[in-house]
């Protein structure tokens, strides 16, 4: 394992690789620090290519001691060349990283895989999380597969699909009368009082967050060990957004790819856009908001990694944009109609921001663009409830011909 410490992102104080997430000196977030991977780049590349078709092929870049294992294989999702969507948007080369293909149909399987593997190494026997839905799905499924009890804390007004799909795994669902930020606050308090529980996104958050780096590793490998020019990804807490960039940087530093970190473009829903607002205002201070959007999986009003997301967008000449609920619905439809990929509201946000950037001429048509579609449309069916074209007829050829006369016969 090349990981050698937990390090504060604010003041650089280091700590051993334990279950801790906050710097005791300044309250800054802790992040896993690594020694350089052993061996030459060619050797490292061969080791990756010989690995399993899961995120564990990147074990050299993950914070685990032993050989990584999980009962529910995750990752190595398709990178789909989206020519029809590119044409619609006036772009040359566009790829969709389709994270709906994970075991619980969102990228959260990645972060949970790493968090759970590390939690087991640290001796935890109970798993928990604060979730906007997708994380609850992933925690309950991976805990069930590992044979560990789990507790998932969610806002009580979450989409039914996410609650039911979580309940199927036999977890303990704790529905909080409040928004995600209230859930998160409660979990932070409970985590302090129940040190024997691994809250994947609280006390083992530094390990959890590392899982998102594999989105970048896979993308680079699937592009033939090359980098995208630009990335469009959603922002809730800002963890995925910043870790994707970190993943590309890791591969550059290891000599596996050449070039620079892509232009990083973040996507938020207008009804919960504290990071986009901070970016627009030219500050890294993200003033918290009360979320009001259909994109519930992105509805974090008090984003932990918001300041770092703004800093990253600025450093890579990117941007952070927001879109309305109507634009989100249109984004879901646009992606489905041009790629065959049905995404949840968060993917609608990402697609709508991609379309907005393209329409505004902010993307050079020569660029290679990758958009991260982080979750499945079956989880947020309400968003498309009025979108289906349904023609009801009797089982009669005459009625069918009458209804579809204009469609032609060949």
């Amino acid at each position: 394992m090349p990981a050698d410490a937990l390090k504060c992102k604010e003041c650089s104080t280091t700590y051993p690789l334990e279950a801790r997430y906050v710097c005791e000196r300044c309250f800054g977030p802790l992040e896993v620090a690594y020694a350089a991977p052993a061996g030459a780049a060619d050797e490292l590349r061969r080791r990756i290519q010989a690995g399993p078709h899961t995120l564990w092929r990147y074990a050299d870049f993950l914070p685990l001691e032993g050989p990584p294992r999980s009962a529910l294989p995750t990752g190595w999702t398709p990178l789909v060349k989206a020519d029809r969507l590119a044409e619609r948007l006036g772009l040359r080369e566009l790829w969709i990283k389709n994270e709906t293909a994970n075991p619980t149909h969102s990228f959260k399987d990645r972060v949970v895989s790493v968090a759970l593997a590390r939690a087991i190494e640290l001796g935890f026997e109970t798993v928990a999380c604060a979730s906007t839905g997708n994380l609850a799905n992933a925690v309950s499924a991976h805990s069930a597969a590992a044979g560990l009890p789990s507790y998932v804390f969610i806002p009580s007004d979450l989409e039914q699909e996410k609650i039911l799909a979580t309940g199927a795994y036999g977890t303990n669902i704790v529905a909080i009368r409040g928004n995600y930020d209230a859930v998160n606050r409660l979990c932070t308090e409970v985590a302090g009082e129940r040190p024997s529980w691994a809250f994947v996104n609280v006390n083992v958050r530094p390990y959890y967050a590392e899982g998102s780096k594999t989105l970048a590793y896979e993308t680079a490998e699937q592009l033939g060990w090359e980098l995208p020019d630009r990335v469009v990804a959603p922002i809730a807490s800002g963890s995925l957004f910043t870790k994707v960039a970190r993943g590309f940087q890791d591969f550059i530093d290891a000599g596996l790819v050449s070039g620079q970190v892509p232009v990083m473009c973040g996507a938020q829903a207008e009804g919960c856009s504290p990071v986009a607002q901070a970016f627009a205002a030219g500050t890294e201070v993200c003033r918290p908001v009360k979320p009001d959007t259909i994109a519930k999986s992105l509805a974090i009003g008090n984003p932990a990694d918001g300041p770092y997301a703004v800093e990253l967008a600025n450093r890579t000449s990117g941007s952070i944009e927001s879109v309305t609920d109507d634009e989100i619905r249109a984004g879901i439809r646009l992606l489905a109609e041009t790629t065959g990929i049905f995404t949840e509201t968060a993917g609608g946000v990402t697609t709508a921001v991609l379309a907005k950037l393209a329409a505004a001429g902010k993307i050079d048509p020569a660029e290679r663009v990758v958009a991260y579609i982080t979750g499945d449309g079956l989880k947020t069916l309400d968003a498309v409830r009025d979108a289906a074209n349904v023609t009801e007829i009797a089982p009669s050829v005459d009625e069918f011909d009458a209804a579809f006369a204009a469609a032609g016969v060949s």
Binding site: V22, F27, P29, Y180, T188, E189, V202
Partner: protein, 91 residues
């Protein structure tokens, strides 16, 4: 005003290993100053050079983030409860 401040586990070693402290003040800022007078080590951990809160320290009054209220100027009443928590969880 007598106010109770609930401390997160990460700060308790600087406060005599107690989970909470009883302080005095008419605003959140005054209550925190009173806290720092009792436990001097907490000042550098929680406040920045300008006397404001460090950016990853969240303070709640009766469950509401003080940034939705008047920040450190928010008035407090007798018996109110302030909760201090790290901001870096979640997502």
């Amino acid at each position: 005003m007598a106010v109770t401040v609930k401390l997160p586990t990460q700060l308790r070693d600087a406060a005599g290993n107690q989970p909470e402290a009883k302080v005095e003040g008419a605003t959140v800022g005054e209550a925190l100053s009173s806290l720092y007078e009792q436990h001097g080590d907490l000042r550098s951990r929680m406040s920045d050079d300008g006397g404001g809160l460090r950016r990853f320290v969240n303070v709640y009054l009766g469950g509401e983030d003080i940034r939705f209220l008047d920040g450190l100027e928010t008035p407090v009443a007798d018996g109110d409860e302030l909760t201090i928590l790290p901001a870096v969880a979640g997502g």
